[in-house]
Symmetry: none
Subunit: 414 residues, 2 copies
């Protein structure tokens, strides 16, 4: 007896249709009651007449990104929303760092997170003195990266690509044939010790080749930077390849499009095979204008709104409320597109009170012609969602629910 996996179920049951699905992700949407707001959450305190009116015609619920108590990173939260179980689908740190700056990773590339560091030498042996080289400014890191790029281009048959990130952080991408991602971090995690050698784990041909190149690269970096007063070394971590997963199109028979301003989210959408839209602008209104432009061309739209999360991480509840209200003011423009299925939710909660991603399940509003609204609902908020007719479901099952509401799923078994 063979058990059907979710992926098999989706490939088997999905069918093409003319219906359109819009998934709006207000990053970090969920919050906690704030004493200064009369114990309302950010979402509950926001003046959102359009969302509240829509809530009365929708199903409300809560989605659980990973498991109870687990606070997801951005990638885990989004993979779950896209129907990729985050306990089975995840990408290495190097890849996430590259996605975060919008680096166009190719198949086979090995992406590495790198830190500028300060070492002193005991004989020929470097000893780590500062793991962050005194935290250089981003501008300084740009200069250092340019210096490295001018000296280091290829090692053996492998291209070495270097890009600054922020402060002491930069990325290295190795591009070539037969590279592996199983390389131990070289950061010893403490000062006063030598950097660790880039050891292949496990010891395969591909990992060995990559480890040798990494060792040469570290030596070359040390040589190029030897006269820098602080940033005279680099520590490498999170060696990772971009995975090639079953695509959104193959899984769901959807032509999917991503509208997002931040590189990380554009990268995550690209990883699952969505078309990532190029457009001008930087506001929610700009994103919705872009959405309108391509409404005819796709049948699934992932619209990502970032600042709810940023304000939450800053502990700035007024700011987070303002972003939610800004979205509310733009909601009528979305509704004029008449999506067959509209879900408004988050990838995780970022309560302003907690100032970080949290484990709290995320409010969701699901609208379609096939919903069972609750006539007692008055607003879209954490507590109305906790009692909502949609109930509480794992985020990883949201996609099948959206597809069902879009009449894009066949019956399972006769």
């Amino acid at each position: 007896m063979r058990e059907w996996s979710y992926e098999e179920l989706m490939q088997e049951l999905t069918k093409p249709s003319e219906t359109k699905i819009l998934l709006v992700v207000l990053d970090g949407l969920g919050g906690l009651p704030i004493p200064e707001l009369d114990n309302k959450t950010e979402l509950e305190a926001a003046k959102i007449p359009n969302l509240n009116e829509l809530a009365k015609r929708s199903m409300l619920g809560l989605i659980e990104p990973v498991l109870p108590g687990i606070s997801p990173g951005s990638s885990a939260g989004h993979f779950a929303l896209f129907g990729y179980d985050p306990l089975r689908y995840y990408v290495g740190r190097g890849v996430l760092e590259a996605l975060g700056i919008g680096f166009p990773l190719q198949e086979g590339d090995v992406a590495i997170r790198a830190n500028f560091a300060t070492v002193k030498y005991e004989g020929n042996q470097p000893i780590v003195v500062d793991r962050r080289a005194g935290r250089p400014s981003t501008e300084e890191t740009k200069r250092l990266c340019a210096k490295l790029r001018s000296e280091i281009g290829e090692i053996k048959d492998v291209q070495v690509l270097i890009e600054p990130v922020k402060e002491h952080r930069f990325i290295v991408v190795l591009r070539g044939e037969g590279l592996g991602e199983g390389i131990r971090d070289t950061d010893p995690q403490v000062t006063g010790k030598p950097p660790l050698p880039p050891k292949p784990e496990p010891d395969t041909t591909e990992n060995r080749k990559t480890a040798e190149i990494a060792a040469k690269l570290i030596d070359q970096i040390a040589e190029v930077l030897k006269d820098e007063p602080k940033a005279n070394y680099a520590l490498l971590r999170g060696f990772a390849k971009r995975p090639s997963w079953i695509s959104f199109g193959e899984l769901y028979k959807l032509k999917a499009c991503c509208i997002a301003l931040y590189p990380m989210y554009r990268g995550l959408a690209q990883l699952v095979g969505m078309k990532v839209l190029e457009f001008d602008g930087e506001t929610i209104a700009d994103e919705i204008d872009a959405l309108k432009q391509v409404w005819k061309d796709y049948d699934f739209f992932f619209l990502h709104i970032k600042p709810t999360d940023s304000r939450g991480e800053d502990g700035n509840w007024q700011g987070k409320i303002a972003v939610i209200e800004e979205f509310d003011q733009n909601l009528p423009k979305i509704l004029t597109l008449s999506p067959d299925v509209l879900a408004i939710t988050g990838d995780h909660s970022t309560p302003a009170l907690y100032r970080a991603h949290s484990w709290h399940p995320v409010p969701i509003l699901l609208y379609s012609r096939w919903v069972i609204p609750d006539p007692t609902v008055e607003n879209f908020g954490e507590r109305s969602c906790a009692k909502g007719t949609l109930g509480r479901i794992p985020s990883k099952f949201l996609m099948s629910l959206l597809l069902a509401h879009a009449e894009r799923l066949e019956r399972y078994q006769a």
Copy 2:
């Protein structure tokens, strides 16, 4: 570390008892708000004073037949209710078609769905002209099947059993030693092409034998029907064996009995090893009379009521409401039997508005002396169930819940 499966848990923990469990399945019970009914669902709009009174003394909840968004077929919905995970337990199309007409499948039989079709010949090569032979009436199909039966009885050492189903559809059952079910469908799915040969997939001895017999059978059918103006050929699909699963009795230590009028549901109950009751009548009252007759003889009763689903599929909400009300009027007769545990639910939702099986979770009412009722509940309906004290559980875990309420489960671990 070995994980306990649900089946192992049940076999380990169930204990005999004198308690009686009644599971009433109102097929396709769940509905959607209907504008003409003041946005009440069929269940919410029905006048069901007895159910509503019982709801106040029960726990209400929602059960999820497969996964969020998945609309189950009848078999999947029922297997879940019986505690057989529908993603692991499923039967082939041929078997379901045979169960649907009440054909007594034996172990080792291969059941096949067959269509009468029209072919023309290019030389010796048949080309499909009409995959349904102009949709003959059921009467005509009976005549054609009788004609085939008079000419075809055995092929090699294998018995060939032929039964009409409906319109152009009939079933073929191959009965003999060493048969396999891995045979590709012969229906090319389009006209203007030759039928596909019955290819063994994978190529095993059993499948090869069955494919050879199927090929001979197709030739013999073509020969017998050669002078028929339309139905001069047959297309074979869904080759399948009746599975032999762990039985209800072995799993749960229950002596279980099925009271159902429709062959499909009687067949599904028989598949899991329930005794299927023979009785006269065709109404809900007749079914309850039959239940009373055998109340002393069994300790688990599966009472199936079909027309809620049929009326739902017809979009006939008045009709569906009438069936629910008819059940309500009969409920007092059930209650006089004083079941220790009474669950009233459905195998899936069939909203009259949707006119088909849907993915919406199904209302459930669970009554026993060990329930935690909600004093604010006023009725048995989708929205009271969405907020009910039973919560939302996968249908496949209903059995352990019923057994617990019947005090038929030992504690798990000391």
